[in-house]
Amino acid sequence: MADNLVVELRQAGPIPLDVRLDCPASEVLALLGPSGSGKTTILRAIAGLLHPQEGYVACGEAVWLDTARNINVTPQQRRIGYLFQHFALFPHLSARQNVMAALEHRPNADRAARADDLLARVHLDGLGERRPAQLSGGQQQRVAMARALARDPAALLLDEPFSSVDRATRDKLYREVAGLRRDLAMPTILVTHDLGEAAMLADRLAVLHHGQTLQTGRIGDVLARPASATVARLIDIRNIFAARVAAQEATRTLIDWNGLLLEAAPQPDFAPGDACAWCIRAAQIVLHRRDRPSQGERENPVPGRIAELVPMGDTVSIDFAAEHNGDRLQFTLSSHVAARNDLAPGIAATVSLRAEGIHLMPPDTTDA
């Protein structure tokens, strides 16, 4: 029977924390944030490896930490499967023995067979006798996953589980973990700084900055509607600008972007005259064909120039300077589209900003 994992952590230092997380059973919650944002610290506090000044950690009925009531259960007593960033496999033990180390709650006679079952589940049949040094990075990650599952955990903590493996192996492991998690009826917290990884494996996303949860929600919601410019930056939105709300209408919100009026989907929380920040994902920016204009060009056309063009294999990264204020819009195009339109630095072009893609946020107060 799986339960919700509820986490509340607060401390002033050495690593400041102000976090509230609620991860329902069978869900994967991704903690996304830059290095030093406190992601690993949160996992360590959940596992009982670190004691925050104030906090509450419970999985269903089991309260693991409650500083108000002086409850602080040892890591051994918290039924947690923890996959460490660099796997933390015991180097002197074989893969099977590594898994068996987490099976001491089971009868001695069952442990070897159970370890082999778990290794088979992560596609490592026949490699149980090998030591970690004799395994590839991907295989080590699988052993670590099998060991994390061996405790029959009530909650699973995955600390950047794919950061130590190469790109090709990572893609394979994503699919395996995605398959594995369908069978796991327990709350899972995945720490990552890779948005794509979070989008692929998680149901919900918590965006962290300086030890604080800035926004938590379903992945699609957070991606489409970041709560602030800081969140927008952390989820890889590069096109963030200042504007003023020009008018609120029933079907649309109009914003004044330094003299250029843009039409956005209705966002009634902002009053006309309010200063705001707005953002748009690169995928919502459409380049006008220079040889054959089309109907879609009526939607928020922005004339300007190609400021920079960086080939990136099959795609080209474009830095586009808006004519009216010099602000830079960044987006990518297929290489063949760029070639067909004869795009080069300095060339005049026009882009359309899809109204559905324009999202309004409170004014950006950060310097970044």
Binding site: L49, Q76, I80, P91, E104, R131
Partner: protein
């Protein structure tokens, strides 16, 4: 060859090992994992026998174990004999003189175990004692072996401290190192040479065996 002296030296080495190693494991592990004020001072005190002239160390131990010292009087009242100039006094001196040889390699070995391995052991549900037995001890093993060999070899070769604390009482405090000195003083170069060669071969063999074993363990853990 003074077999009594050799037997006494081996016995002294074994006693030192048996008493010092468990304490060194505890102290070395504690120093490796803890950060606290005054840690450097404790480490410096434990390293003192490395830099102090053996006669100075021996002098202080002699003062501490002599018949008029507190320790000497307590010993006398319990066991009915003096601590200084006895085999037991030698063992005590040997424990002090070997502190750095036993503790430092063990401390380094525990410090080299990545923190996440110890944490992984706890997250696997292993109790602190099980984690120590199953994970830490096997990983720190080369350090323990080095500590044991260094301590044993150093005990066999210790001269200054032994002479100060034990003198040269045959069968009681005359170790092989003292016996070599005695033989040289008596112009018995043949006996001195034989015993010196025996010590040399033993020390070389012990160091070579430690290095080889450490490498083997290192490869296994690679």
């Amino acid at each position: 060859m003074d077999w009594t002296a050799l037997r006494l030296s081996l016995l002294l080495g074994l006693w030192t090992l048996a008493l010092l190693l468990p304490a060194a494991i505890w102290i070395g592990r504690w120093l490796a994992y803890s950060e606290f004020r005054g840690k450097s001072l404790i480490e410096a005190m434990l390293a003192l026998p490395l830099v102090l002239p053996p006669t100075v160390l021996g002098f202080y131990i002699l003062i501490a174990t002599g018949g008029s010292s507190t320790l000497g009087r307590i010993w006398q009242s319990i066991f009915g004999g003096p601590l200084a100039f006895s085999f037991e006094g030698l063992v005590f001196a040997s424990l002090i003189a070997n502190l750095p040889f036993a503790i430092q390699p063990i401390q380094q070995a525990f410090a080299a175990i990545p923190r996440d391995l110890r944490e992984a052991a706890a997250c696997c549900g292993l109790s602190p004692w099980r984690g120590f037995r199953l994970i830490e001890l096997p990983l720190a093993w080369p350090g323990l072996l080095t500590a044991a060999v260094l301590t044993f070899a150093h005990t066999l070769g210790e001269f200054g401290v032994v002479l100060m604390v034990g003198g040269s009482i045959p069968g009681e405090t005359r170790t092989i190192a003292i016996a070599i000195y005695d033989r040289v003083q008596a112009f018995d170069d043949q006996a001195a040479g034989l015993m010196a060669a025996a010590l040399l071969v033993f020390s070389l063999g012990a160091i070579a065996a430690t290095t080889a074993l450490s490498k083997r363990i290192g490869r296994r853990h690679g």
